[in-house]
């Protein structure tokens, strides 16, 4: 069969149909009873028999073999921004994605980032490949930022740090490692959690289950439920914890609660897996926001930490972050690092340089680092101010006795309003306030000037819609 195919003259263009004709699917291909080139599946939509006189050959019609591919479900978070863009109402407000905005509701490029980029431009550095594990200077300052330079885990080289594509990419590296080295082990994720966590573990084929976290009655933490569920999980599970500024609820455990969480994790031989996407954005202090991670590390627990610079350095589009794995020994850390590299190589070979250099320049330079801390405080401060104003506006409007103080207690960019889906829809449909259907609003997208309007919208949705 193959040698027969070789002898077919295939050179003349008249023998092959143009893309255009084939695409239309309307070309009548003569039928033939030739069996020279027998397609396994005669009924396949991909094949029709074309007659060339003496010789027949199977000509695939131009039906794409991906004909059956359907639309993927829209990303719930990014979909909000798209809907917002399409809205022409003058009072529209985008409280969807967690990207920091100034009081003028403009994106913000940090001054330290501009300075770092200028330095990089002046130096005219080359664009060679980074090693698979990323820029060494970046990895060093990133681990130090997280654990503290003097931390024994750093001093003893027990941390395997690999530059990753922001938080998402870092989570995926770890997920792949878990799938490979802890087959069957589950990851416990909070209910609710950032939507993409589930996608990451699903695509990495890592099973997950949820632990109770958000209590709608108190619009606070269901601490007992959380502890119970972590205790009930099979020994040696991975427990995904938000290091600070929980997404989407904004509800963080207190320091005392963190201790109890650590107790239970140790008791059950679970592995803590932190997602630190907002270091600096919670309290305004980089060190304070790393307290939960450092607490666990201080107990000698081996743990994983995914880090992102998307929000705190405003480097969203540069995709810069890291996966850190604290191991019991330097030798283990070296081995683990080598396996993370082995996962990264067939995913993207090596990570992008630009964001890594910016971070290395900012975090590694004492002057720029101080400036960054100040800008961080400013950004976190703006969010705290907006929380206060929103709370004040709501309290002034709402005399029903409803307690809105959770707006002040919640931490970071997000606030879980407690609004249900119908109420959230009302926010959008009637008030042109865009948020996610779980009732989450991003305070980073709120200005002081719009707090009053938002308070009106929330008040109306909460009381008049069920």
């Amino acid at each position: 069969m193959a040698s027969t195919m070789l002898s077919l003259p295939c050179t003349s263009s008249s023998a092959s149909l143009s893309m255009h004709q084939l695409n239309k699917g309307k070309v009548k291909l003569g039928s033939s009873d030739s069996s020279i080139c027998i397609n396994n599946d005669r009924n396949s939509p991909f094949t029709k028999i074309k007659s060339f006189g003496r010789i027949s050959m199977t000509v695939a019609t131009n039906v794409s073999r991906f004909e059956g591919v359907t639309m993927a479900p829209p990303d719930p978070i990014l979909g909000v921004s798209e809907a917002f863009k399409a809205d022409t109402h003058e009072m529209k407000l985008n409280l969807g994605v967690g990207a920091y905005r100034t009081e003028e509701l403009q994106p913000y490029v940090l001054k330290v980032v501009k300075k770092a980029e200028n330095l990089m431009l002046e130096r005219g550095e080359n664009k060679e490949y980074l090693p698979i594990e990323g820029l060494a200077a970046f990895n060093k300052v990133t681990a130090e930022l997280l654990f503290g330079t003097d931390n024994p885990v750093i001093q003893k080289q027990r941390v395997a740090t690999v530059q990753g594509l922001s938080g998402t990419g870092s989570l995926r590296l770890a997920a792949a490692l878990i799938e490979r080295y802890f087959p069957g082990a589950k990851v416990l994720i909070s209910s609710p959690t950032w939507g993409n966590h589930k996608n990451i573990f699903n695509d990495a084929r890592v099973p997950w289950s949820e632990y109770r976290y958000y209590d709608p009655k108190t619009v606070g933490l269901d601490f007992e439920g959380m502890i119970a569920d972590i205790k009930a999980a099979p020994e040696g599970s991975f427990v995904l914890l938000h290091g600070c500024a929980h997404n989407p609820t904004g509800i963080d455990p207190t320091p005392e609660q963190w201790k109890q969480i650590a107790d239970v994790i140790q008791e059950k031989n679970h592995i803590p897996f932190f997602d630190v996407a907002y270091q600096g954005f919670a309290s305004g202090s980089l060190d304070e926001d790393a307290a939960s991670v450092r607490l666990f590390a201080a107990r000698g627990i081996e743990l994983l930490v995914a880090q992102s610079y998307s929000k705190n350095l405003g480097l969203y589009s540069e995709r810069i972050g890291a996966m850190n794995i604290v191991c019991s020994s330097a030798d283990a850390a070296a081995r683990v690092k080598s396996q993370l590299k082995r996962i990264a190589r067939p995913m993207y070979s090596n990570p992008p340089i630009h964001g890594a250099r910016i971070v290395a320049n900012v975090v590694g330079d004492p002057g720029l680092f101080s400036e960054w801390k100040a800008e961080m405080e400013m950004m976190a401060g703006r969010i705290k101010n907006v929380r206060q104003k929103l709370f004040d506006s709501l309290s002034a409007k709402d005399k029903s006795g409803k307690d809105w103080s959770f707006i002040l207690k919640q931490i970071g960019m997000f606030s879980f309003t407690g609004l249900n889906k119908a109420q959230s829809d009302n926010m959008t449909n009637k008030w042109h306030v865009y948020m996610t259907k779980d009732g989450r609003i991003s305070l980073a997208g709120l200005s002081l000037a719009k707090c009053e309007y938002l308070a009106d919208a929330i008040f109306d949705s909460y009381h008049n819609v069920s």
């Binding site: 080139c37 594509l165 020994e235 107990r299 081996e302």
Partner: protein, 429 residues
């Protein structure tokens, strides 16, 4: 892979219940064969050392190059504000420009939007996205690689859980294409094939235009899916359009897939800029496929990094910068072709009885030298010359300054066993 069980875990836990030792069963990963070469090179202190490992362009001083068009683009985009809010527009613009390069700016497919295009993490990322997409929609399919192919292709499809097969490609005797064997390989109809459209890595052996036509015709008859990994457009012949000639598959009506990389031809290695495109029946299907690709990407790394894409689209959408780029690509390709000529000439001048024609017949960054693993090892240990153990030499690492030394060294390790018909000469260093 170590089969891990909870019971075993409990057995060696210390009584204090400290959570330690979780990673005891994790071994050291083998070194990547390509990166491993550079690592060995870096620790070598010899002043004569030469790195012919990774395929990254070097100038005639052996230095990495940032293209002038790229420097101009960097200056132009410096201080770009609001990157985060325009990133998807930047990405779309990048994709638009990128696909024009490979399909032609007048292509119907491009103008009618009958393609799904998505920015990817260079060539690796584009291949991986496609491999994941292939598994999602053709879970029982295999991938057919040319033998040999870039080592990381094996890793990519394996991690995407797609089993591989190979088809004949390289002919070790002729050091050229084994076309007859390629055409007689009997993959089941409707198989997925990975093809290098130009500058095959690692062999440098490309089909002729006529051979591509025959391959396309055969693929059509057998309803195979051609997936092109376009990593060296412009660096094979020096001309971007010529290097895309293999994409004439379109004339036969194939709906191909293509991974593009700007790592080498625009020198943007570390920025990880690439594009994955999949041709479709119509724009509607293109939207559906793109949504699936984005879905895969989102769970892997969220979105692609913006900086490199901004550089590429700044260059490609500006007539002057693009013209400059075209020139610079030609310069890079020419230097490599010149070095091929020099190396072959040096070896022939030394009186080597090995046939070194393939050095100038082969195309692109790499020369598949035909050196054995032992010879490669000798070159490293005795002569401080580093290449992958399959004998692949990156010609980009050859300079007028080191080509004589390289030729002498290769001659030394290959001369044993040859009839010594004339005295060995060393050419002047």
């Amino acid at each position: 892979m170590w089969r891990y069980t909870m019971i075993t875990r409990r057995c060696f836990m210390s009584t204090s219940s400290r959570a330690v030792g979780w990673w005891d069963h994790v071994g050291v990963a083998p070194k990547d064969p390509i990166n491993g070469v550079t690592e060995a090179f870096l620790v070598d202190c010899s002043p004569n050392k030469i790195n012919l490992g990774v395929g990254a362009y070097r100038d005639d001083e052996g230095k990495p190059v940032v293209l002038q068009c790229v420097r101009e683009a960097e200056a132009k985009i410096a201080g770009s504000e609001f990157l985060e809010s325009i990133s998807s527009a930047v990405s779309s613009k990048f994709v638009e420009e990128s696909v024009k390069l490979v399909y032609g700016k007048d292509s119907d497919v491009v103008n009618e939007g009958r393609f799904s295009g998505i920015q990817a993490l260079s060539g690796t990322g584009a291949c991986r996205l496609f491999a994941e997409f292939q598994r999602r929609f053709y879970p029982k399919s295999r991938i057919y690689f040319p033998h040999p192919t870039w080592s990381n292709h094996h890793n990519i499809w394996r991690d995407a859980q797609i089993p591989e097969s190979t088809f004949h490609y390289y002919h070790p005797n002729s050091k050229g294409l084994n076309f007859a064997a390629l055409m007689s390989d009997n993959a089941p109809d409707g198989s997925f094939f990975l093809l290098h459209p130009c500058a095959h890595n690692p062999t440098g052996v490309d089909p002729t235009e006529e051979q591509w036509r025959e391959i396309s015709c055969q693929f059509k008859a057998k309803n195979h899916f051609p997936f092109f990994d376009m990593a060296y457009q412009g660096l094979a012949s020096g001309d971007l359009d010529s290097d895309a000639q293999a994409i004439i598959f379109l004339e036969d009506g194939h709906l191909i897939g293509c991974a593009q990389s700007f790592a080498k031809n625009m020198g943007l290695y570390g920025h990880r800029v690439g594009c994955l495109s999949v041709l479709c029946n119509d724009a509607k299907q293109a939207v559906a496929i793109k949504s699936q690709l984005q879905h895969i990407a989102r769970a892997m790394y969220g979105g692609p990094p913006i900086h490199g894409a901004l550089l590429v689209s700044t260059i490609l959408s500006d007539l002057d910068k693009k013209a400059l780029w075209v020139k610079e690509v030609k310069t890079m390709a020419s230097r490599i072709q010149k070095m091929r000529g020099s190396l072959r000439a040096c070896l022939e001048e030394l009186g080597s009885f090995v046939n070194w024609e393939h050095i100038t017949n082969q195309v692109g960054l790499f020369c598949f030298s035909g050196l054995t693993a032992d010879q490669v090892d000798r070159l490293a240990t005795e002569f401080h010359i580093y290449m992958t153990r399959d004998g692949r030499m990156s010609m980009a690492g050859v300079t007028t300054g080191n080509v004589s030394y390289l030729a002498n060294s290769i001659h030394e390790v290959t001369v044993f066993g040859q009839e010594a018909k004339s005295p060995r000469r060393r050419i002047g260093i």
